[in-house]
């Protein structure tokens, strides 16, 4: 699909690639952040299902009884995401907490923490 990024300036959007669209062509405009959440959420569900596929031995058909409801949950999320594209409500996938931080901490911080905590005495695990 032809796509261009842009910035809003009052009533108009200045796009970086004006040659992409024809004169008087109707377009639809989203924010980049929300599109990114949407796209990541879709990829997560697809990756999950592909992982199940990769690790399933084709001889263990009985395992599908357990896997299929999980897969169905993910398909439901895919469906909700696609519906949410054309609704003005906040995205369902905003509610998915993400534990994977893409920004790595600097080694310095982690090394300092290691020194201050002593393993044996403090934690009653």
């Amino acid at each position: 699909m032809r796509m261009s990024e842009g910035v809003p300036k009052g009533r108009i959007v200045e796009i970086y690639n004006p040659g992409m669209f024809q004169e008087h062509e109707e377009v639809i405009v989203f924010t980049r952040n929300e599109s990114s959440s949407f796209y990541n959420s879709m990829q997560e569900q697809i990756d999950y299902i592909n992982e199940i596929d990769l690790y399933l031995n084709r001889g263990d058909e009985w395992k599908l009884i357990g896997y299929w409801p999980k897969i169905l949950e993910r398909i439901h999320i895919l469906d909700m995401n696609m519906d949410s594209l054309l609704k003005k409500e906040p995205l369902q996938c905003y509610l998915d907490a993400s534990l994977y931080n893409t920004i790595r901490s600097s080694h310095k911080n982690v090394a300092v923490s290691k020194r201050k905590v002593s393993v044996q005495s403090n934690l009653p695990i």
Partner: protein, 161 residues
Amino acid sequence: MRYSYGIMDRRKILLYEPYLFLSGDDLLVFPTKDFHKWQGDIKEYIDGLYQINSINMEETKSLNITEFNLAVAVINNIREELEQMFDSDKISDFSYHYISTLDEKYKKQKGDYYTNDMRRCDIKIHVKPKITPWLKYNHMMEIVNQVAQDFASPQKSGKQQ
């Protein structure tokens, strides 16, 4: 998702609902017709997946490997369609437009699908882990690393927004 339609006018886009966007937002612009077609295509695939699932609606039958393979193939198709969101060479085929007419009942799961027995199997631990000092240390380091990351990120995330 916040969205607005707009129209291309002399190399700029005139928004129909400009109040939806703040001046600091980055925006993505797609042609409306292509976008609706693309969305319809993916919905079509998802409805196909629900149709594969409809076999489970019958009491006696359950999914077999062939149907699972089919479902995975449809998922791959969805993934390809998703990637074409940013592929400017892709030409949309406007010969048909899919509107979802799937009855909501096909999207519901059977009530007693996950039985008590299944749950008992799932939560039973077959090999009890032996708690060693190494294990305790790693458990604690996981928490420490996560906290260190959280402390490191606020400066960066301040710049992102």
